[in-house]
């Protein structure tokens, strides 16, 4: 509770930090909105003229809003810090492949650096600790997350032999969580809001799942699984379905994480731009800011939720692939979740 109370004013500060430069840019619009209200009162006299005058800049403004939103969300070769300037990122091309460092790569590296710093500290604490001591502070907080992934995600979904997959699951959880949270910091961008990042992570899960399945059932069992244990006459239908089924799982993981992270940011930015499109401080105070803050807090929750769901589903897929039970049971379990 205490932590939450501290976080709320911080979140508000962040939203205000996002809003302030935008408000300054549009200070000129105040005059336009007063002109608009006076224009409505004189509607009967100069209606066509005023409508014509307002209709012209409106689409231009909206286009600008869309561009700004896209600019915030998409990857970029330039890291911009709006009122202060921007940093051009190096462009690297190796063997005809463009592997330049972009905004999202920078975010990935920031996240990685943070993860390494935090967990080298926490890991050091645990190395020094004996079994009779309890962790404190940061180590304790991280232990709660790790213990959650270990017991509620890995152990309950994979079952015996879950220890082997724990390092991947915990890393992917922390990686996604920190990416999501870093995207909520002003000037940060959400690397997990880029479909290429989520695709790569999902491919990791895909390979781990398939390798686990091969190890658990052998090549023969793996191929038998593709036939879904039916009569050979049905194989021509079922084998393609099963193969598609293999790929829909990572695809779902990819799109779920990407769409959730992108959507949240689009909603926040759109809510803010409502006040600019309507050119009203009242709308800004009554609609844009409160709703944006609400969505921002929701995004904090979603950051944890999506990291959990990605890890949870990865664990579930690994568990399904390694389970020794029949195929029908698999389907029932998938449907249940």
């Amino acid at each position: 509770m205490k932590r939450l109370k501290v976080r709320q004013p911080k979140a508000m500060l962040k939203v205000i930090a996002i809003l302030l430069p935008l408000l300054f840019n549009v200070s000129g619009l105040a005059a336009a909105s007063t002109g608009q209200s006076s224009g409505i009162s004189r509607e009967s006299v100069t209606a066509p003229a005023v409508e014509g005058g307002q209709a012209a800049p409106a689409p231009l403004e909206e286009e600008k809003a869309g561009d700004v939103i896209m600019h915030h969300i998409l990857n970029n070769n330039v890291y911009a810090f709006p009122p202060f300037g921007e940093v051009a990122l190096p462009k690297i091309v190796v063997g005809g492949y463009d592997i330049s460092v972009t905004k999202h790569v920078v975010m990935l590296w920031l996240v990685s650096a943070t993860l390494l710093i935090v967990f080298s500290f926490v890991g050091g604490k645990y190395k020094k600790m004996t079994a009779r001591q309890s962790p404190k502070g940061l180590a304790n907080a991280m232990e709660a997350l790790i213990e959650f992934v270990r017991l509620d995600v890995a152990k309950s979904n994979i079952g015996p032999g879950y220890e082997k997959h724990l390092p991947y699951l915990i890393t992917v959880f922390m990686f996604i969580l920190f990416c999501n949270l870093f995207g909520l910091i002003p000037y940060g961008s959400t690397a997990t809001g880029n479909i290429n990042v989520t695709l790569t992570l999902a491919v990791f899960t895909f390979f781990i799942t398939q390798i686990a399945a091969l190890k658990a059932h052998g090549v023969k069992g793996f191929l038998e699984h593709l036939t879904a244990g039916t009569h050979w006459a049905l194989w021509i239908i079922l084998v393609p379905i099963e193969i598609i089924g293999l790929f829909t799982k990572p695809f779902a993981l990819t799109v779920r994480l990407f769409a959730n992270m992108t959507a949240g940011h689009i909603i926040i930015l759109s809510l803010i731009f409502i006040s600019f499109i309507l050119k009203s401080y009242v709308v800004a105070a009554a609609v844009s800011v409160p709703f944006a803050i609400f969505i921002y807090l929701l995004e904090l929750f979603v950051a944890f939720l999506q990291a959990f769901i990605f890890t949870m589903l990865s664990a579930l897929f690994i568990g399904l692939a390694t389970a020794h039970a029949g195929h029908d049971e698999h389907e029932a379990e998938v449907a249940h979740h």
Partner: protein, 175 residues
């Protein structure tokens, strides 16, 4: 509406970026390897050790509880057995005392009866002896009286008659 349309039409949301895929793979893989070595290893070992420690502590506590319960049960059994023994001993003692009392009083009664009978016998004997003595004395007195009468006396035949009749009288009276 228009804004969302523009976002969708821009299409760049779904555009592939091989460079980003490459960097994500490399970054994530390196982070995974390093974290596995420096963090997850020690943390997970510590967690497992703690889990095992807690489990063994719980097991030990259960074992101790079972043992103490067994001891308690045994104590109760012993106590109830001791109670039963004490009851039995007391009961036996009471019975014995009762029997003893009855025996003693019966014996005393018998003794008293015997003593009373003996006393009665000796009283009877004494009485008989006393009567015998008395009879002799009376006979002697009668002889002495007769002597005196005879000495002073009258006719010897007449005297003789009188004495005889008196003796007859005495003997009939006694019987």
């Amino acid at each position: 509406m228009l804004t969302s349309g523009i976002i969708l039409l821009a299409g760049s949301l779904l555009s592939p970026e091989p460079g980003l895929i490459f960097w994500t793979t490399v970054t994530f893989f390196i982070v995974l390897l390093i974290l596995k070595k420096i963090a997850w290893g020690p943390i997970l070992t510590a967690l497992e050790e703690r889990e095992k420690g807690i489990q063994s502590a719980i097991d030990r506590a259960h074992q101790a509880k079972d043992e103490s319960e067994a001891i308690l049960r045994k104590n109760r059994e012993l106590l109830s057995k001791a109670d039963a023994d004490a009851d039995k001993i007391i009961r036996e003692g009471k019975d014995y005392a009762e029997k003893l009392r009855a025996d003693i009083s019966a014996k005393a009664h018998e003794e008293a009866n015997k003593m009373i009978a003996a006393a009665k016998d000796s009283i009877e004997q004494e009485k008989r002896r006393a009567l015998d003595v008395l009879r002799n004395e009376v006979a002697d007195l009668a002889v002495m009286g007769a002597e005196k009468i005879i000495k002073t006396a009258l006719d010897a035949d007449l005297q003789k008659k009188i004495v005889n009749s008196m003796i007859k009288d005495l003997s009939t009276k006694r019987n």
